[in-house]
Symmetry: C2
């Protein structure tokens, strides 16, 4: 059994009209996700528009979520920035508040950097933190353009032992996720989509960290439990969550998830999103309405 | 004549052994570049490792450079971050200190964003600043992966007039730079390499903002002046600066420039660089030594 597993939701970040984070809204959304069956919530992943907020804005949201009663052990905090100094600041802040699980992107401005250079980033981060930290490496080559390669993971794991706790694999590639699980059985490997849940669980992976959990947590959790219990209904349940994901893969996902939340809660504040992302356009909203029955989500 | 023109150096950022910016070193380097003939200096461009520093670190360096006597009108400040809130903070700070020229990258984490989304970033920035600001759009598709397209430039220029003052074109593509100069004659167009200086000046462009100016400012400035004076020696002078650039294009440029400064000043502190970038390796140092006579730089 992996140390950390299950269905984790990278929470959307609700905003006010001036695009400042809505602290009460963030806390309520996290509470809802945990209540809907998510094993945990990631604050400030890609879905949470992490890079679009300042260090101070990110700290304040985490404080608000914890102050509202979320258990620190069920929160994983995204802390990876381009500036090592920012990553260290955010990581120390999370640890001080009892959040030991950190999802850490590598710096993503410079491209074509070496594994040695990326290793040095994690090395300096870990050296600046206390030993209780548990780092989840964030592999998202399509957006960061700085991959976390297999040799880099091996080198980090060899050097830092249990501090390197897992990997979020947002490559979307089945074979890549399966290779990670095979090569690093002691790490918690989370693909970034529930469509890889059956393969992941069969191979011994941890579960998934999936944006769709923001709007479909109950069904994804139920499917996870069915697979774990080897229930014959698991495949049917998986087909239903795949159908939802397939529709959401065809539209700008973060904007679409915020639009669904606005519909569901009848609250247009959910449409606010920081540029360069944009509120969902009407043609994409129509694609969703043709593909999904929102009332069933 | 463009409002802003000439040879601008995107300054390297000297660091202490703990990788904190060396304020005295930064101020001395800027002073040296201005004394060596640069019309101006860009603080916190790509060459200055801008994205590798926190907002507070960037503010402190600018303050130190100005406190040491650099004229604010000869400093252009890189302020574009992924978080609009950070970009606004840095931009207001620069304006407060009398630096009106800002080099602004678009947010660069999310890829495949629309021109509308990028426009919204500049719109919200400009609306948050006083009207005296002069914005230079930073087009560096290889690193930011978010291009500043021609329609976007046109739309910004139409909406904000003289606030949109210029473009740094780090595409490295001659045709792209020439098109910008042709389409936007009222903007100061700076290619990111001195190798495009003759084409740029003939077409009516502004000059260049080039990393190589950190170590070869005198010769680049002399070449610029020769072209402006239609001096027959201009082409020969250009060939010499092209030869230097060609060597530096074959190695990791920022690391190489820091290595050259370390040699020239006999000060290994110049080798410090923030990860994920790395100090120059020996094979690359040998490439430079084979290609350049450092004493002549």
């Amino acid at each position: 059994m992996n140390a950390v597993n299950g269905i984790w939701a990278p929470a959307l970040t609700p905003l006010h009209a001036d695009l400042a984070p809505d602290h009460a809204g963030c806390a309520a959304h996290v509470k809802r996700l945990l209540g809907a069956g998510c094993h945990g919530v990631v604050l400030f992943g890609t879905t949470g528009e992490a890079s679009s907020f300042s260090v101070d804005e990110r700290r304040a949201v985490l404080e608000a979520v914890l102050a509202a009663g979320a258990a620190p052990e069920r929160i994983m905090v995204g802390t990876g920035c381009c500036a090592l100094s920012d990553t260290i600041t955010l990581s120390r802040h999370a640890l001080t508040l009892g959040c030991r699980k950190l999802l850490v992107l590598p710096p993503f401005y410079y491209k074509g950097v070496s594994d040695r250079g990326v290793f040095a980033c994690y090395e300096k981060l870990i050296d600046a933190l206390d030993g209780g930290v548990r780092i989840f490496l964030y592999h998202f080559p399509r957006l960061s353009a700085v991959p976390i390669t297999m040799p880099l993971i091996r080198f980090l794991a060899e050097n830092y032992g249990e501090v390197i706790a897992g990997i979020k694999d947002s490559s979307g590639e089945r074979e890549h996720t399966l290779q990670l699980i095979e090569k690093f059985p002691h790490l918690s490997v989370f693909p970034g989509t529930e469509m890889l849940l059956p393969d992941t669980l069969r191979a011994g992976g941890a579960g998934c960290i999936t944006a769709t959990a923001n709007v479909n947590a109950e069904a994804i959790r139920r499917t996870y439990d069915l697979f774990l219990n080897k229930d014959p209904d698991a495949e049917k349940s998986q087909a239903a969550i795949n159908a939802v994901r397939t529709v959401l893969n065809r539209v700008p996902t973060i904007s679409a998830l915020k639009w669904i939340m606005a519909k569901r809660e009848n609250n247009d504040h959910w449409l606010h999103i920081r540029p360069p992302l944009e509120p969902l356009g009407i043609p994409d909203a129509e694609k969703i309405m043709r593909g999904l029955r929102l009332g069933e989500l």
